[in-house]
Amino acid sequence: MIRRFNYTGRKKLVRTRVSISLNKTSDSLLAFDAAVQLDGLDLPPGAKIFIEAYRRAYFKRISCGTVSAPKFPRKFILEGLDPEALVRFRVKIVDKKGRILAIADRITRRTEEEPTDKICLLPVDFVDLGQSVWRLDVDSDWPSLQLNKCVENIREIARSDNCFLTLVYPEIVRQVLYKIVVEEDHTDPYTDDDWMSQWLRFVIDLSEDKQLPPSGYSDPVKLEKLKWIDDAVNAFSSNNNVLEKFIQSQNFREK
């Protein structure tokens, strides 16, 4: 487990305090509304609030007033950004010396259709993937599902096509867990609200025995980890009736 030091007493803004919703304007531009709950954090009234939207070489920083007089953006247009792109947000509270007092980072978008009280574990990005239909990106700062934007109706397919759902999503769970448990040896779901802990909490909640993954890098432990991942994928599949849905999709095709 990686230990982090925080000598300056920087506070963590948990994601549930940040509400960001995206919408498309009539000109098909991407715009967002934001609000941040700062009560109870004991921040200096004069500290400045900034929201930063970023994606690759795109960066937009919006000054949102101070803790005592916040002015959060409404329908702020992210000009020059692909409306289908996966944009991330960062909220910073900064003192007069430029020191960060509190921060929430890697906040992914929430569209108007999604519930506001849930955190999106797997944001979706629409990109040109050549001959591939989908790809899981686990190497950037939050895992995302990349879908090939050249495939017609891919958004709908990924959302409701049983064949896609049953074949792709369990594999996504497997790949994400492999990254977390085997490659990163991140096995404690209750340390932080970073993406690894949130994913672990999600899969552990699905299993009946609520077992935590084993920790360590030795070969026997790695085998145990792979078994734990198998069980977690099975629990995910069972909760989502994967086998039944797959059989139904095949029967539907035969008819």
Partner: protein, 238 residues
């Protein structure tokens, strides 16, 4: 008289890839410039923009030229347009992949010429990479835009690949102040060394640490330099 910019179609891109593979295997064939205008391999853009073949001496010159020609177009139609950047690469092929002293062209990976929109590779494109840097920083970061188009530097790879660096004006200005030798118009010698104290790799590590404490986006280059420890003394501008 210039040429109208077009975009390579899927077939055009495929043919360009075949050519890249051939020269990678030793062929000395001339670039397939016919793909640039042939209707099955390229298509008109929605807007008419003229360019001409110039002998750009540096990435800065080329990116400034391209930015001025493309700036009026919607960003969405330009920034990640694979057909457009592949067409431009073929158009300027003698600059992005010149014939060397042995009579060969060394193209490297396809993504240096055909824009790959994957976040791990998009900045490798020999025209789109410098263009993005110019678009963000204009002429303030010659450190990343010096030298010929065909040469990708360690500075470019290490800084352009890090979102928190390339989009941060203060950090990029600081890197430029430390490591760019303006009298010779090139990076300072050994500035990208892995071993030398205060060199680029240490800069990256230290900035990543400072970024946890300071709002570096609110600072200019001089202010960022003031935060750096003494090991960077040797590199500071005199």
């Amino acid at each position: 008289m210039g040429d109208l910019i077009r975009v390579l179609t899927d077939k055009g891109i495929q043919s360009f890839k075949v050519y890249l593979a051939e020269i990678r295997n030793g062929s000395t064939k001339a670039p397939p410039h016919e793909l640039l205008t042939n209707p099955w391999s390229s298509a008109k853009m929605q807007w008419e923009v003229e360019i001409e073949r110039c002998d750009f001496e540096s990435k800065l010159e080329a990116s400034k030229f391209l930015y001025e020609r493309l700036r009026m177009l919607p960003h969405l139609q330009v920034d990640q347009n694979i057909g457009l950047w592949s067409w431009l690469s073929l158009y300027y092929f003698d600059l992005v992949c010149p014939v060397n002293e042995n009579g060969r062209r060394l193209p490297g990976q396809d993504y240096r010429h055909i824009l790959d929109t994957d976040f791990r590779r998009y900045y490798y494109h020999l025209l789109n990479g410098p263009y993005n840097i110019y678009k963000l920083h204009e002429e303030k970061v010659p450190l990343l835009l010096s030298g010929p188009l065909y040469r990708t530097t360690t500075f470019h790879l290490q800084l352009a690949s890090r979102q928190g660096f390339i989009t941060n004006k203060g950090v990029m200005e600081a890197a430029n102040l430390l490591y760019y030798d303006s009298s010779h118009e090139r990076p300072k010698i050994a500035a990208a060394s892995q071993k030398k104290p205060g060199s680029l790799f240490r800069f990256i590590t230290v900035i990543q640490q400072l970024d946890l404490t300071y709002d570096l986006y609110s600072m200019n280059g001089e202010e960022v330099l003031k935060l750096l420890p003494s090991e960077f003394e040797e590199w500071r501008p005199r």
